[in-house]
Every structure is written in C-alpha cells, then in structure tokens.
C-alpha cells in the first residue's frame, strides 16, 4: 500500500497537503509512530516535531548519525593550514629583524595557529548545522501548539486512498488531536 504520494499525483487527496495529530506526551506520540509503522508508512515519510529533545523515546533517536564531528575536525585543519600560510607568508614577505630572532618562529606562531584551528572547527560546525538541520528552509507541516509542549506526528502529501488508514493510525493513541492542512 502506498500511503504517501508526491505532490501533483492524480491520487493526491483532494488538496490535503498533510495530515497530522498532536499528542500531549511522548508515550502517545510513540504509540502513533508504531501505528503508522504497522500501517506500512516508512520513517522517512513521517514528520515528528517537539518543543524539546525527546531522547528518552525511540522516535527521539531518529536521524542521529552525523558527520558533524569529522567536519569540525576538517574545519580545524583548514583553519590551521590557513594560519600556517598566513604567518609564513606575512613574516617572510615583510621580514622584521627583532634582536636577531628567527624571522619565522614556531613558538609565537603556534598561538595564532591554535586560535585559527579552533575558529575553523567552530565555523565548520555552525555551517554543518545550518545545512544538515535544514535551517532556513521550513517545513510543510507545523503547528504552533508544539511550542506549548504538544508533540506533532504527521505525514506530508498523503494519498487519497491512504488517508483514512493514516487518520485511524494517528487517532489510535489517547489524547490525539487530529488535524489536516
């Protein structure tokens, strides 16, 4: 059974862009998710939103794998390479003799290398966050009640034929508040 169709599909249900339910707690949201899985809906088709991290529930562990740590290390390496280049280039291009000390000295330059390494790691982390968390791009489903502690579980672009099944799965847990957009 196909429960989700791309937008514009002939079966796309009568202008229903999304169907979702709001739950008062993580237990109900978890039950709704299990019901959707039982109805054959894939994880990638299910949207979950909450006002805080829900790591005590299974659904809170979705999409946990990330390359962010490695990307931060890469950013740090780029920062360090930039610092080596900057100090080398500037000191060798404009050599200033200070009491016969070496023109390019590692000890004082290590400080600049350290700072730029950390800066590179920090900037790489933030850029990765913006890109991978899809910040600035919004989402088809959202309900302001999420801010009040409700947990949203829903499916975007459901097919007409699957709508009834989805609604049944979403309303199965206690306290579900079904909505369509």
């Amino acid at each position: 059974m196909t429960l989700r169709e791309p937008q514009g599909h002939p079966e796309h249900g009568r202008g229903v862009k999304a169907v979702y339910a709001l739950y008062p707690d993580g237990h109900s949201a978890q039950q709704a998710l299990s019901q959707l899985h039982a109805a054959g809906v894939h994880d990638r088709d299910i949207t979950i939103q909450s006002a805080q991290p829900m790591e005590d529930f299974e659904f809170g562990h979705r999409d946990k794998a990330t390359w962010m740590w490695w990307i931060a290390c890469g950013g740090g390496l780029i920062g360090m390479a930039s610092a080596v280049g900057l100090t080398w280039l500037t000191e060798m291009s404009w050599p200033i003799n200070v009491g016969g000390l070496p023109i390019f000295a590692w000890w004082p330059n290590l400080i600049i290398m350290f700072e730029l390494t950390m800066l590179g790691a920090i900037l790489a982390t933030v850029i990765t966050l913006v890109v991978t968390a899809r910040l600035g791009r919004g989402s088809a489903i959202y309900d302001a009640e999420v801010s009040d502690g409700k947990i949203l579980v829903g499916v975007v672009n459901p097919s007409e034929s699957a709508l009834a099944g989805l609604e049944a799965a979403l309303t199965a847990p206690l306290g579900a508040q079904l909505k369509r957009i």
């Binding site: 993580g26 237990h27 979950i48 939103q49 909450s50 006002a51 805080q52 991290p53 829900m54 790591e55 005590d56 529930f57 299974e58 659904f59 809170g60 562990h61 979705r62 999409d63 946990k64 990330t66 962010m68 740590w69 931060a72 100090t87 500037t90 291009s93 404009w94 200070v98 000390l101 000295a105 004082p108 330059n109 400080i111 600049i112 350290f114 700072e115 730029l116 950390m118 800066l119 920090i122 900037l123 982390t125 933030v126 990765t128 966050l129 991978t132 968390a133 899809r134 910040l135 600035g136 791009r137 919004g138 989402s139 489903i141 959202y142 302001a144 999420v146 801010s147 009040d148 502690g149």
Partner: protein
C-alpha cells in the same frame, strides 16, 4: 511544583511581550551615562590624549585596567556554561544563557578599550594584519597580535555559542507573538520546527563548540597575561601569570554572573526558575576560586620576596605598605577574606550572601588589574623612569560608564530574548519515561547513584 510548558512560556516570555515604564526609565538613565562617556571619549579625541592621566612612564592606566577586567568578566559565561554542558550538570539549565550573554557583552566592552587607548581610534585598522608598504605589517611575534586573534576567535565562538541555542526559543516567541514581532522572530527562528534531526544536530553542534570553546577561553586570558609577562617590567615577568590571570578571570566572571542572576531573579520574578540552590552551587565555585586566587597571590608574593631583587622589591613594598597599600588590602579583603567568610559558612551562603561576596570580588578584581599595571609601570629599574599616575575625569567617566553600558546591553537583551533557555528548561523538567531499554537502564543507574 514543576511548571507546565505553557507556564514556562508565559513566565519567560513576559519580559518580551510586556513593557512597563520602568524599562524606559532604566534605559534612559543608563543610555544617558553611556552618552556621557561617549562625549568624554570624543573630547579626548578632540583635545588629545593629554587630557587623560596617561603619560610617561605610566602608559597603561584605567583603560588597560578596564580592558583586562572586562575580558576577565567575559570568562563567566561561555567557559562556565561550556564546562557545565560537558559534565551534563542538570542545574545549569536556567543559568547558561544568563552567563553566555555576559561573555559576549563583556568581550564587546573589553575590546573597546584598546580602541579608546589608541587615542586615535581611526587608525585602529593598523591592528589588523594587512599588507603595508610602510613595513608596519604587524609583527606576528608580538603579544598584541595574539590578542587580536584570541579575542576575535573567542568573541566569534561565544557569539555563536550564545546564538545557536536561541534558535528554538525564537521559534517559541514566533508562535506566541503577532504582527511585526512575529515577522521578525520568524526570520530569527530560521524555520525551526523541532524535528528529531534538528535537535540532534543542535546538540551535537553545542557539544563540539563546548569542547572547542574551553581551551579558547583559557587561551584568551593566558594571552592577555602575556601582554604583561613578556615585558621586562618588575613583577610582570612571571611564569605564573597565565594560570593566575585565567583563575582571576573565572573568579570575577562567577561573581559577575551571581550579581546578574540575583538582579534578574528579583526584577523579572524568576523565583520559580532561579532557585537558591543555583546560587549556592555557584557560591561554592566562588569559594574554590577565592582559595585558588589566594594560592596564586601567595605564590607570586612569596617568590618575589624570597628572590629579593631590588626593583621587584620596590614595587612589592609600594603595594604592601606604601602608597598603594590601601588599594592592595582592599583587594585582599574583597577577593579573599569576604568570599572565604561568607561562602565558607553554609548559613551565609544565601542569595544575599552571594551578592555581597560577589560585589567584593568585582571590586577586588578591578583593583587587582590596576595594581598589576600601575605600580610596576611607575617604578621600573632606574630612577629616571619613576613616575606617578593620576587618573583624570575622562578616564574615570569612561571606565565607570562601562558598568552602565554592560547593564544597558543586558537590559536590552532581556527585552528581545528569553533570558532563560526555554527549551533547555523544558528538557530538564520533563519526566523521562522508560520506553527504551537504554533509557530505563540509564535512569535506574542514575537513581541508584543519586
């Protein structure tokens, strides 16, 4: 009683959504003081540096004292917040943002002082590494260039460390407001929805930044200490200056944070979120740092005394029992005696006690910076270089107004951003169920060890 999500939203968004006449009155008063300081600075630019008390041989006075002091205060936030995040201290949740804000504003104020101290701030771009045919490319081996990189890295990192966890809170404000405010916060929230993926990425980013920011914070004040310890000036050339400055910075930072938290708690009625236990925990940290500070001062003084080097001993006695002695002993009382007595006795470790001890520490730490700089510069190795420093009104006004500037920035910030991280507070308040085996096991172990 644990507050509900709606109550948390309502309590913490109240300062943003409602504005009383007191806010405008406070902003006007603080703004007036800041404008006075700006006029003083302009007059210094117009009439020249001669109207300040800075002249040979004491070239560093109130301005550099304030620079070091504010950079020290900046250690309150990001460093403390990062450490508490890394150790996953649950009580940090209402505290972190109050602290992180102090870092950003204190750094901004601190970074102003090199510009003020320049006398001709329009030439400040000379500090930035850029190619020059006049051979004034900064010498990368100079500690002053290290300051440029360290402070800018710390400021950038602290700003991002403050901004990232604000995104989910901007989303809450977006959902709770209307009209223009809603449009502004919609932009600021960057389309935040609170999907598991977004939460994981945000928490990973915060963890990475917490790891990165701790050594950066330590490096910043070590590098500020290098401005002194790399110079051949009596009582400056000391290998202990790095950790001594870092400890002092964290010390004054905690004091600043305690004062800010006490004021916020009272003015914004945050009694339900900022509990006495938060003050007590930070008070214990203040006590530890007071002991550490005392240890460093003892080291510095004893080694100098035992070494008995004439030029160092001259500075030593100037501070211990001559012209600077009143300031020196006020510093010792503020930084050591007061916190030791108040924070060391449990019954005094109240919110009021914490504030009194913190005020002593703030005064004491400002004096400490002053006493490191001025007595040494005024009494170097040979008699021809002896001199005195008398701060002039322009310096006193500017240095004093920075406290008003800090308060003003804080007040304005509280008006546009929830001062306690709403989502972190909610995450701390919600009761974890045992739906997964790992969660159940973790909870069982936590209860067993608590």
């Amino acid at each position: 009683m644990t507050p509900s999500h709606s109550q948390i939203n309502s309590d913490l968004l109240r300062p943003l959504l409602r504005t009383s006449w007191k806010f405008y009155a406070l902003v006007t008063i603080l703004g007036g003081i800041v404008v006075t300081a700006l006029v003083s600075w302009l007059s210094q630019m117009f009439y020249g540096f001669g109207i300040s008390g800075i002249r040979w041989p004491v070239y560093w006075g109130f301005y550099v004292t304030s620079f070091v002091f504010w950079i020290g205060i900046s250690h309150a936030g990001t460093l403390i917040s990062a450490i508490l995040r890394l150790v996953d201290a649950g009580w940090r949740r209402p505290v972190t943002r109050c602290a992180e804000v102090i870092t950003v504003f204190a750094l901004m104020i601190g970074a102003m002082f090199p510009l003020i101290h320049l006398g001709r701030p329009w030439l400040a771009f000379w500090l930035i590494p850029y190619p020059s045919e006049r051979l004034i490319w900064p010498n990368f081996r100079s500690p002053l260039v290290w300051d440029f990189f360290a402070i800018n890295t710390y400021l950038t990192g602290s700003l991002l460390f403050l901004l990232l966890p604000m995104i989910p809170d901007f989303a809450v404000v977006r959902d709770k407001s209307t009209g223009l405010r809603r449009r502004v916060y919609t932009l600021l929230a960057l389309g935040w929805r609170g999907t598991p993926k977004q939460w994981h990425r945000l928490e990973s980013a915060m963890a990475i930044m917490a790891i990165a920011i701790v050594p950066v914070a330590v490096s910043v004040h070590t590098i500020v200490s290098f401005d002194f310890s790399m110079a051949p000036v009596p009582m400056w050339q000391s290998t202990i200056f790095g950790p001594y400055f870092v400890a002092g910075a964290i010390f004054s930072g905690i004091a600043g944070l305690l004062i800010a938290m006490a004021i916020l708690r009272r003015v914004l009625h945050l009694e339900q979120y900022l509990h006495p236990i938060h003050f007590e925990n930070l008070g214990k940290l203040l006590l530890v740092m007071a002991l550490l500070w005392g240890y460093f001062v003892f080291n510095e003084r004893l080694v100098t005394y035992y070494g008995n080097e004439p030029s160092e001993m001259a500075v030593f006695w100037r501070t211990q029992r001559e012209s600077f002695a009143p300031l020196y002993w006020t510093m010792v009382i503020g930084n050591f005696v007061l916190p030791l007595v108040i924070m060391g006795i449990k019954r005094f470790r109240t919110i009021t006690g914490c504030v009194i001890a913190s005020l002593g520490v703030v005064v004491g730490m400002w004096l400490e910076r002053f006493l490191i700089i001025v007595p040494s510069l005024g009494h170097k190795y040979l008699p021809y270089s002896y001199g005195i420093y008398r701060p002039q009104p322009v310096e006193i006004i500017i240095a004093g107004a920075t406290f008003a500037a800090m308060t003003l920035l804080y007040v304005l910030f509280v008006k546009v951003v929830p001062i306690i991280s709403i989502w972190e507070l909610k995450a701390g308040e919600h009761q974890p169920p045992d739906t997964t085996h790992a969660a159940a096991e973790e909870r069982r172990l936590r209860e067993q060890h608590s």
